[in-house]
Amino acid sequence: MSIEIANLIVNAGLVYAGLGLVFGLAFVWKGAGRLDPDAARGTWGFRLLILPGSAALWPLLLLRWVRSSGPPQETSPHRSPV
């Protein structure tokens, strides 16, 4: 791997993580509660714990937050949507 490509990969990763961190802070503060009512009253410890995951999965969560449709309902024979 050339050093230019390596630089590109590392910088892209850092930008993704940086944006993720900024998004994550907003998400654990407000967004999580929009998605899941149980999270709206979550403790600060809980918010801190979900911060890394929020930063890592930010594109998915951003999409959900924008659509704000509540927690997804899985469909399977064992759990049909209500």
């Binding site: 791997m1 050339s2 050093i3 390596a6 630089n7 990969i9 590392v10 990763g13 999580a32 998605l35 899941d36 009512p37 149980d38 999270a39 709206a40 009253r41 979550g42 403790t43 410890g45 809980f46 801190l48 714990l49 979900i50 890394p52 995951g53 890592a56 999965l57 959900r64 927690p71 997804p72 309902q73 899985e74 399977s76 024979p77 064992h78 759990r79 049909s80």
Partner: protein, 348 residues
């Protein structure tokens, strides 16, 4: 069960579990460092610490992987399963420490940044002996991070159980990568038969336990569908089901827990709504089917959790004919009341 999320829903068991875990890890690190320095007084502290952390994480990964099949084989191991996530997160933190120390030691002082150096410093992908094994470890660490970061119940709910499960199945990929990382890295530097033997032993234990548990479940799952009569399936003799316990059968691809209590029989989906825990391995306590994993409860005749909880599991029609229990493979909507079948000879 609707409640505000906390960081950790502490209880006595979890505290004992975590204390034991922490003590074990600290003891291991202390012994490793003590013995390591005694045997290799020339080694640097950084080297020793990164080895201690790496081996601790690798061993803990074996324990994490063994707990699932062990508790399926023998319910006495269930307490270990109870707080496995904390063990998983602990394992990630150890692995992270190992990775961070390695990055600093091997890539921290060059002309390019440590991450760039990690990517470019060793391009010998075509050589087995010189393979850039650190990249394998880095990839595994990334997967472990994804799992550790999503271990809270919030993620289970908001990613949905199937997605969450699929994500956490990556632990097997991570295990494979780490084995390669160890084989191509450590075992090249130190061609010790003891280390190689331990590695193989670990793989045999992990693989063997998974095969054993899978084989046993296949035997339990053996479809009884051939005995269909009026669409119902014979799931065995009433007497064979222990009082207040269940027999688990596979009907139409779904696992169904058939509970006996008194002279009655009720059938529910085997999958707990909380985290797909095996309801059929639980018991009826105070009139409620109680999940063995975290104690969620369901009424046996309608599959609904007691007020104020709202969980519901599907129910199945049951019949008792000539002392044998028959169950319809058609799942009723979660929470549907189904008249329990009664054993006439057992009326109280």
């Amino acid at each position: 069960m609707g409640h505000a999320y906390q960081a950790v829903g502490w209880n006595r068991q979890k505290k004992i579990y975590d204390r034991t875990l922490l003590l074990g890890v600290v003891l291991y690190l202390a012994v490793f460092l003590g013995v390591g320095f005694a045997l290799h007084p020339e080694a640097t502290a950084e080297t020793m610490i990164l080895r201690a952390l790496g081996t601790a994480a690798f061993m803990l990964l074996h324990v994490v992987l063994a707990i699932g099949p062990l508790s399926r084989l023998d319910s006495r191991f269930l307490p270990l399963l109870y707080n496995r996530r904390h063990m998983g997160v602990t394992m990630f933190l150890l692995a992270f420490g190992h990775g961070a120390f390695s990055l600093l030691q091997f890539h921290g002082f060059g002309d390019v940044g440590p991450l760039v150096s990690l990517l470019v410093s060793n391009p010998r992908f075509d050589s087995l002996a010189q393979f850039p094994f650190q990249l394998l470890g880095a990839l595994a660490l990334f997967l472990l991070f994804l799992m550790a970061a999503t271990s809270h119940d919030f993620w289970l709910t908001n990613l949905t159980a199937p997605v969450w499960k699929a994500l956490h199945m990556l632990v097997y990929l991570a295990y494979g990568l780490i084995v390669m990382h160890v084989v191509l890295g450590v075992l090249q530097a130190e061609t010790s038969p003891l280390l190689a033997g331990l590695l193989v032993l670990g793989m045999i234990v992990v693989l063997g336990l998974h095969l054993a548990a899978g084989w046993r479940e296949r035997a339990l799952d053996e479809p009884l569908d051939q005995l269909a009569r009026e669409g119902f399936v014979d799931v065995g003799a009433f007497e064979e089901i222990p009082e207040a316990c269940a027999r688990v059968v596979t009907l139409g691809g779904d696992r169904v827990a058939v509970f006996r209590y008194g002279d009655r029989v009720s059938a529910l989906s085997n999958a707990c709504q909380h985290q797909n825990g095996p309801l059929g391995e639980g018991r009826i306590i105070d009139g409620f089917v109680t999940c063995p994993w975290h104690g969620y409860q369901y009424k046996p005749d309608c599959g609904a959790s007691p007020e104020p909880f709202t969980e519901r599991v599907p129910t199945f029609e049951t019949r008792i004919v000539d002392g044998r229990v028959w169950v319809s493979p058609v799942a009723q909507a979660p929470g549907t009341y189904v008249e329990p079948a009664r054993h006439p000879g057992r009326a109280r």
